[in-house]
């Protein structure tokens, strides 16, 4: 192995990234080359120095307390946010609930009225003779046609004759 190749591989050897055979080859060269050996020990010393320097970086004494206080503030803020969200939902939801209740009452009223009319019609039809019932039915049918035609006139603004044609 040449010095140039050895120098390129020293870092990999320090990091344990060389295979056994490569490591042995490098080791053999380092034993015979004092220059490369000096560089290798120097790089190992630098590594150790970096680790020691980083391990001894002074940590601000109250940093953990500040982080914990930050969490407490975050939790309080989250709680507040939850309360505000619920309040907003209630405030927004209340009118909707009132409208929905009104709509329900209206639908219920229509249903009750319809049911009452249906009941009255059924009772009347059973009380009256068959021929009269037929006449009532036919009259109701004609009135419905007229009613629909009137609505079409109102909507389209066309003449009665035009609607019928």
């Amino acid at each position: 192995m040449e010095c140039r190749e050895c120098l390129e591989r020293i870092s990999e050897d320090i990091d344990g990234e060389l295979s056994n055979s490569e490591h042995e080859e490098l080791k053999a060269h380092l034993l015979t080359c004092p220059d490369c050996s000096a560089v290798a020990s120097e790089l190992r010393m630098i590594n150790k120095g970096i680790q020691q320097a980083l391990e001894t970086i002074p940590v601000p004494t109250d940093l953990d307390q500040r982080i914990i206080r930050g969490f407490e503030q975050e939790r309080r803020r989250e709680k507040k946010q939850t309360v505000y969200t619920l309040l907003i939902l209630v405030l927004l939801g209340s009118p909707l609930l009132i409208v929905l209740l009104g709509l329900y009452r209206l639908v219920n009223l229509f249903y009750s009225l319809g049911h009452a009319f249906w009941q009255a019609k059924a009772s009347l039809l059973t009380l009256l003779p068959t021929t009269t019932s037929w006449w009532i039915g036919i009259t109701a049918f004609i009135l419905s046609i007229i009613g629909i035609s009137m609505i079409r006139i109102l909507v389209r603004g066309s003449s009665f004759k035009g609607v019928l044609s």
């Binding site: 990091d15 970096i50 320097a53 980083l54 002074p58 940093l63 930050g70």
Partner: protein, 177 residues
């Protein structure tokens, strides 16, 4: 990194707030020093430390395997610091560090001076070399893992680490003269 305490981590994962406080106290030095190793700015390192613990607090309950905690934590710390470095590179210039080594430090003055020189040399490295050497020396990642984290080929990592060490050697030698 602080020694793995399975009981404490289990409680933290279960959402126990008191245990989380103990966890913060235990891991703050490691988190802060890692942030300092990457960012070289105490104020930024404090912000990132806070941010890291917040991320841990939010996502620790999703951790299924307790024994994967150390690598999961290391991953969060590394990615937060690297993200911050990217923002730093886009925005303001790298600050002049006030590393906080002072005479009140427990180390002897000779030692802290040597540490200061080493940190200064580390700071003077090209940012790409610095982050690679920190990932290797401090975080203990393998070349393959660093290549994966930084999204570059393993060959590039080998070259960066070697160049970084040679540059540090030169910088420290210059300082010694």
């Amino acid at each position: 990194m602080a020694e793995f305490n399975r009981e404490l981590i289990a409680k933290v994962c279960a959402g126990d707030e008191e245990s989380f406080t103990v966890f913060v106290k235990t891991y703050t030095p490691y988190v802060y020093r890692t942030a300092m190793a990457f960012l070289h700015d105490p104020a930024e390192a404090e912000d990132v430390s806070q941010e890291i613990f917040l991320k841990i607090h939010r996502s620790v309950s999703q951790l299924n395997d307790l024994y994967a905690f150390q690598s999961w934590l290391k991953q969060i710390i590394t990615h937060s610091c690297l993200d911050h470095l990217k923002k730093q590179a886009r925005g303001k210039p790298i600050p002049i560090p006030d590393l906080g080594y002072d005479l009140l430090s427990q180390d002897t003055p000779e030692h802290w001076e040597q540490h200061l020189i080493t940190m200064e040399a580390l700071r003077n490295l090209n940012p790409e070399y610095r982050e690679t050497i920190v990932l290797r020396e401090w975080q203990g990642y393998s070349y393959d893992e660093i290549a994966h984290i930084l999204g570059v080929p393993v060959g590039t990592i080998k070259s960066r680490i070697h160049t970084a060490r040679m540059q540090l050697r030169k910088l420290l030698a210059d300082e010694a003269q």
